[in-house]
Symmetry: C2
Subunit: 168 residues, 2 copies
DNA sequence: TATTGTTATACTCTATAACTATA
DNA sequence: TATAGTTATAGAGTATAACAATA
């Protein structure tokens, strides 16, 4: 993030250019990325870091991180899902989901209900306060999304969603 | 990854649809993402995971990961950089770069040379075998990039690079 | 035998703070 | 005082393996 924001404020860089040979100083702005420039993965990674940081900051007051938001949203839209189903759908390890749900359950946003049809599994539901909270989270997430739009432009954001639709 | 690949093999899903009420089963394919669909961050994150996994697999034989590749590439293109300069340019914590360089130095790909102008800092250089190795890594990374192109299409990849150029 | 949720371990990565040697 | 590199620690996140209860 630091580097990308710094990059934005490009200036003529009137700094020292004295010939100090092999050990010459580089301005941050003039360090070449070479082959990295042609790699989609590099740009995507930097963008993803920016976007997650904005999400975390925008939902900072309610203390909800991207993964928690995705879990709450999917449970909210599909009440009764098992942990395995949520884990598979979101590409989260089931072992990791256990801890995520422990935290969300402690915060009384989610509840695990023992399934009657398969006593091994839990049916996941939002609590009543969980439903209310998710409504607020969605409002804040939409605000974050407007930051993204402001950053890359409305049309670019839409094009991006189209290009990457296959990965959701 | 699992979910996204599973998503690709969409089928009519002729499975049980019996009315088992609140605890009804969901096929992985029919679990709705709700608000997540409209979030660029979700798609970008899933794509970034796919792309890194392909990179790691494609460069698996030479045991080079994306961050290591980015460090080697930047040092190769800007010999004599300090650790701070590399860290800032790539958005890596300087504490983390120490370990990355320890590993690359042990593998004789990089060397830290004491700067004569500022005895606190190290000038980073590729070793001769490091130069040779990087050439091979770049060839493999280009192969990875062709996988990306095959996955999302040549024009979409180029458009993506345009849209995200500001984040590099 | 296989699956669900759980626990545990290891490794990567991020975020800090503090220390040293220099500047 | 501030900076470059280092060390250390804590918290996410990922990747595995193994276990108990249940299918």
């Amino acid at each position: 993030m630091t580097a990308s924001t710094a990059r934005a404020e490009r200036r003529p860089s009137p700094r020292k250019r004295a010939g100090n040979g092999a050990a010459r100083q580089h301005d941050a702005d003039e360090i070449g990325l070479d082959a990295l420039v042609g790699h989609a993965g590099y740009a995507v990674r930097r963008f993803q870091i920016w976007i997650f940081q904005d999400f975390i900051k925008t939902l900072g007051d309610v203390d909800i991180r991207p993964t928690q938001y995705s879990v709450l949203t999917v449970i909210g839209a599909n009440p009764g899902l098992s942990q395995m189903a949520v884990a598979k759908r979101l590409g989260i390890e089931r072992a990791r989901l256990v801890h995520l749900l422990d935290s969300l359950e402690q915060r009384k946003l989610v509840k695990r209900v023992k399934s009657k049809t398969d006593r091994r599994s839990h049916a996941l539901h939002l609590t009543a306060p969980g439903e209310t909270a998710l409504t607020k989270f969605k409002r804040l997430a939409a605000e974050h999304e407007r930051h993204v739009e402001a950053k890359i432009g409305k049309e670019n954001r839409e094009r991006l969603l189209q290009i990457l639709a296959g990965f959701t």
